[in-house]
């Protein structure tokens, strides 16, 4: 049995990408020391010219990633905090994302941005606990949120090879997940959902680390209800056909999504279901509250994140 952790899987995906393609390079703070785990050992192995420690200039080094991409590189930018994505929103949404169309297809920007530790890490408080994947999905940047080590490996590998900008969220709540890896690690296509557990009564769409919570709740309720757990893996572009098929089987929908409710990822899933499916009961969302800011105190922080009781309640609600 080979147990592979999520963090180690990401690290391996990046190492394999650096090994396979000299165009791959890494920009980030403290990537030499590998503080976030993602780059551990990689500067030693590939050199400080490919795994580059950069000054605290997120806007400049993210856009430098764009410039490098325009000249044939495939840069991976590591951001230490999810909210640093706010700081580089201009660079990603207004520059990287728009280059291809605005130049009439002359340019492509194969830039991957990784946040190794998104969402709440207890005790990091208001500015370090965001899960802003919905923002990137809304503007149309490819947005990934792998839940397992193999998917983390597979999606990061695909992101680096993709010709468009990609943002990958590695939820803090999943970094410690370990998986017995027997089959070789392979790329996972962007845009393909995965059914972790088939079921016939309710489809639970779960994002990132909440996939594990959903699986636990599904198991717990197994005697009562047959829950299908669908992990979109790629948030944008969404695998709508997998969603619609699953809802065709179950007719009931709960989305569990650790981000703000209003116009978030869960809203899109409900909207697609409303447009394309006939549900047997009103769907439910389990999310953070509207406009959530996570308070520091642990009990308060937890109170604002989707918990297993809420998911249980939601599953029971759609069965009524």
């Amino acid at each position: 049995m080979t147990l592979l952790s999520y963090a180690k899987a990401m690290n391996r995906a990046l190492a394999d990408a650096l090994e396979a393609d000299p165009a791959v390079c890494v920009f980030g703070e403290d990537v030499g020391a590998g503080l976030a785990g993602l780059t551990l050992g990689l500067q030693q192995r590939f050199g400080a010219e490919r795994v580059v420690d950069v000054p605290l200039s997120e806007q400049a080094f993210t856009s430098a990633g764009i410039g490098a991409a325009l000249n044939g590189m495939r840069p991976v930018v590591e951001l230490q905090i999810p909210s640093l994505l706010f700081l580089v929103f201009e660079q990603l949404a207004n520059q990287a994302h728009k280059f291809s169309l605005m130049t009439g297809g002359q340019a492509r920007v194969p830039l991957t941005v990784v946040v190794p530790g998104s969402g709440s890490r207890s005790g990091w408080a208001g500015q370090h606990s965001d899960h802003p994947y919905g923002l990137f999905a809304h503007v149309g940047i490819k947005t990934l949120a792998p839940a397992t080590p193999t998917d983390a490996y597979g999606l990061l590998s695909s992101a680096v090879r993709d010709d468009d900008p990609v943002v990958l969220f590695a939820p803090a709540g999943a970094l410690g997940v370990r998986e017995d890896v027997t089959a070789p690690l392979v790329p996972v296509p962007i845009g393909e959902a995965r059914i972790h557990r088939p079921g016939s009564d309710v489809t639970v769409v779960a994002v990132g680390h909440l996939v594990h919570q959903a699986l636990a709740v599904a198991e717990e309720l197994a005697d009562e209800v047959s829950v299908e757990v669908l992990d979109p893996r790629t948030l944008y572009p969404l695998d709508r056909s997998a969603l619609v098929e699953s809802l065709g089987r179950t007719g009931r929908l709960v989305v569990v999504d650790d981000s703000n409710r209003f116009a978030g990822f869960a809203a899109e899933v409900l909207a697609v279901a409303a447009e394309e499916c006939r549900l047997l009961a009103p769907p439910r969302r389990v999310t953070r509250p509207d406009g959530a800011v996570l308070p520091f105190a642990r009990a308060l922080d937890r109170a604002l994140q989707p918990g297993p009781e809420q998911l249980r309640d939601a599953v029971r609600a759609v069965l009524k």
Partner: protein, 326 residues
């Protein structure tokens, strides 16, 4: 009418000792799991916070950083309430909502630590601009590290303060590193050179010498208060501990043991004019007492009720929709 608790060398020594001992206690509480999430210890840099705050009036203000305990205590915050904040208790400065990285006490002009490097500087500029517009004599000190020198918004802020002649004292605590990255390989040119390039008078001071910092800060505060605009102080200093308490999980080699030892020899507490005097020993005992009362206060403060988790989200009182299913 400068801050009474920093009015003389003994007061300044006392506050430096308070910060140092506070940080030691916080470290202990992180290690034991009482404080969740960890902290960025200020130990070693006490002379900067204390020297600068010694030049401020009670009504003056400051913006702080992720490494903010020193600034907050130097400006006069209650150590018990800061400890309670680190524990996430209702008696904390922010009612347990902020934690280490967001500690604030608006009644004392402490406009908040900040989790984003460089983010305090423009807030300081705006606060200073507003105070002047309202005819108040307020000066705002803005603390930040060498890493922040490379943040765009901080550089924009230097310019804005310069053209607005805002009463701001920019205090760069150059402790040589931004996490693991040496300032020498991250900062093109020099700190003071940058400020000067925006038209701001700048000087470098020994950040391990509280009296030197105070003297320089007094010049800067005087200039600001008299309408002379912003100043910039680069304080050469060092952090004695890890960047963040979580660092101890790694075996990092970005600083040599010799380098740390050589800076520890220049401990700002040891070079205070009061150090070694019998007075100092009395103060040290006083601080032990003070901190034990503070710890008692913090530990007995109540845990917040989860039902209040979205309190204060909107100052207008708007209550957000819950995230639970309907």
């Amino acid at each position: 009418m400068s801050l009474p608790h920093l009015a003389d060398p003994a007061g300044r020594y006392r506050t430096m000792r308070l910060i140092r001992s506070f940080e030691e206690l916080a470290l202990e509480w992180v290690r034991s799991g009482l404080v969740v999430g960890g902290t960025h210890p200020y130990s070693g840099q006490e002379a900067v916070a204390v020297g600068v705050c010694a030049a401020l009036d009670p009504a003056d203000q400051l913006t702080s950083t992720h490494r903010g305990h020193g600034h907050v205590l130097a400006k006069g915050a209650d150590p018990g309430r800061l400890l309670a904040e680190l524990l996430g208790r209702v008696g904390g400065l922010n009612g347990g909502r902020g934690g280490s990285m967001h500690a604030a006490d608006f009644s004392l002009g402490i406009l908040g630590a900040n989790g984003i490097v460089g983010a305090g500087a423009p807030i300081a500029v705006g606060a200073a601009w507003a105070a002047r517009r309202r005819g108040e004599p307020t000066v705002v000190a803005s603390f930040f590290g060498d890493g922040a020198l490379n943040q765009g918004v901080l550089l924009e802020s230097l310019n804005l303060a310069s053209i607005w002649r805002a009463p701001v004292v920019f205090v760069c605590e150059n402790n040589g590193y931004a996490t693991t990255l040496p300032a020498a390989s991250a900062v093109g040119g020099s700190a003071c050179g940058r400020a000067a390039a925006f038209g701001i008078p700048a000087e470098t001071v020994d950040g391990m010498d509280v009296e030197a910092v105070r003297a320089a800060a007094e010049r800067a505060v005087r200039r600001a208060r008299s309408g002379g605009g912003p100043s910039f102080l680069e304080c050469l200093t060092y952090r004695f501990e890890a960047h963040h308490t979580m660092e101890r999980r790694f075996r990092l080699t970005y600083r040599t043991a010799e380098e740390v030892a050589s800076w520890r020899e220049r401990d700002p507490l040891a070079s205070s004019p009061v150090a070694g005097l019998p007075e100092a020993a009395a103060i040290d005992r006083e601080v032990v007492e003070l901190l034990s009362t503070a710890a008692e206060f913090a530990l007995t403060s109540a845990e917040p009720d989860p039902a209040t988790a979205t309190d204060h989200l909107y100052a207008s009182g708007l209550r957000p929709r819950s995230g639970a299913a309907l």
